[in-house]
Subunit: 247 residues, 2 copies
DNA sequence: TCAAAAGTGTTATAGGTACACCCATGT
DNA sequence: ACATGGGTGTACCTATAACACTTTTGA
């Protein structure tokens, strides 16, 4: 890609900005930042990287990168996620775009925030090629973060709670076969809210896309739990119906 | 603002993109596009401008503009809205950011979509300084749109429906004193769904922030309706409680 | 037989849906 | 008196919440 063509620069210009040299509009950049939530046994965490360089050297920050000139925005988010976790096929959800003038001390950079949720055990720590140090931090006790990343995390956390209420995001985290207790613990952790066991199970029973298997746990020192799985086809049907269940 | 400093360009660069000249990251621009919904008497419309120049000359498009180098993102959206409608103090809501590589035929431009809703009667048509022609189009019958603007409108429409379910956005559109029928018509129009009169009124009665006034309509050839108004203080209390009402 | 967790049942209340009916005003 | 929209009441049904109870396993 070469410099923006004269045609591009004149065509894209609007009448009332004639007083500002058009080149100034090309002194900005855009990035993606990923809020990667990690779930494991009633713990919700966020994957942060430690910055090696200024600005905010030594601070913890969200993994992110500039978007390649010939790379779709969503693809950039998937790439950051993949480089850091070695996981592809993870659903990333665009959350919000942050564009305050002074949010980056060295220039004008707007950033598009994405969120994803993974099972912590599925990830080899330090798998990234470019993050100097990475660590899972409990969502409840975050360190000081670089840039406006605290605000980005807060926003992504709110968003993931909304997603959890309407979509089976637990399918991205729980094992293929899971127990209802595991499912309840997931909801309780993410939504930070306790549910009554009986009522929870009644509600799950109304969800046709949570299918009981003819299997149960083995070698537990209590009554073994029945195992359930996510039924993608039933979920598709449910999506197309108009009776939506929420938490 | 001058060209990005060497320091900025080297600091912002990440290790794994060394193969791409850093200058290429500054050949892009970002814009805001506004989906301005207009409501008036059971009609929901979108304000479009006619493009005078290529690309997409003659097409209808969303009002939008490049973001000024020293302008916050949200401020840019407010500016576009204000220039076109002469209205300030309108709530704009960021919807989504569109960043496909090929979405702008003349270069790499990502755009942040914002939505707003206004009362059509509040606007002097053609009030804009830079839009060659502007027109309200019914949400149900949109013309061919420039760029990916169809997708943006779709996305904003979905978002405004969600907002309507949880927030009193009718307060941005209905007169200070309104009737319950007007309120019901607003919901029916925006959500594209009919409600039972009695049940609707029962639900509204549970909302403490819709306050009955001791006034009624005058000079109507039927039983005059009681007038209601939005109670900002009661709404604040409601927001801080945990029992949220939705449609 | 005990601990631990799975799993079920009962009851009360709140909220949603459908629908019928009455009311106040101008013409 | 009638057309027009405003406004209310009831009966039914479903969803939710609180809570007590029974069941199955390994140790």
């Amino acid at each position: 890609m070469t410099a923006p063509s004269k045609a591009f620069r004149s065509r894209i210009q609007q009448d009332d900005i004639y007083s500002i040299p058009i080149d100034d509009f090309f002194k900005s950049a855009f990035s993606v930042d990923c809020v990667i939530f990690g779930y494991h046994e009633k713990q919700l965490k966020v994957l942060l990287i430690e910055r090696g360089t200024e600005p905010y050297g030594g601070y913890w920050a969200l993994p992110g990168d500039l978007v390649y000139p010939s790379e779709d925005l969503d693809a950039a988010a998937s790439r950051v996620l993949r480089d850091l976790t070695s996981l592809s096929d993870i659903t990333t959800r665009q959350i919000h775009t942050f564009g305050k003038v002074d949010r980056h001390p060295l220039g004008r950079v707007i950033t598009v925030a994405y969120a994803a949720i993974v099972e912590i055990q599925d990830i080899r720590p330090q798998a990234s090629s470019w993050a100097s140090d990475t660590k899972w931090h409990s969502i409840k006790r975050l360190p000081k973060l670089a840039f406006d990343h605290k605000e980005i995390v807060r926003s992504a956390y709110d968003a993931i709670k909304e997603y959890a209420r309407y979509e089976p995001i637990w399918n991205e985290v729980l094992p293929k076969k899971f127990t209802l207790t595991q499912l309840q613990e997931f909801y309780e952790t993410v939504l930070n809210k306790a549910f009554d066991k009986g009522n929870f199970r009644k509600k799950i029973n109304t969800m046709k896309f949570v299918k009981a298997l003819n299997e149960s746990q083995k070698n537990v020192n209590h009554r073994p739990s029945a195992l359930y799985s996510f039924d993608a086809k039933a979920f598709k049907d449910y999506r197309e119906s108009d009776t939506l269940i929420e938490f």
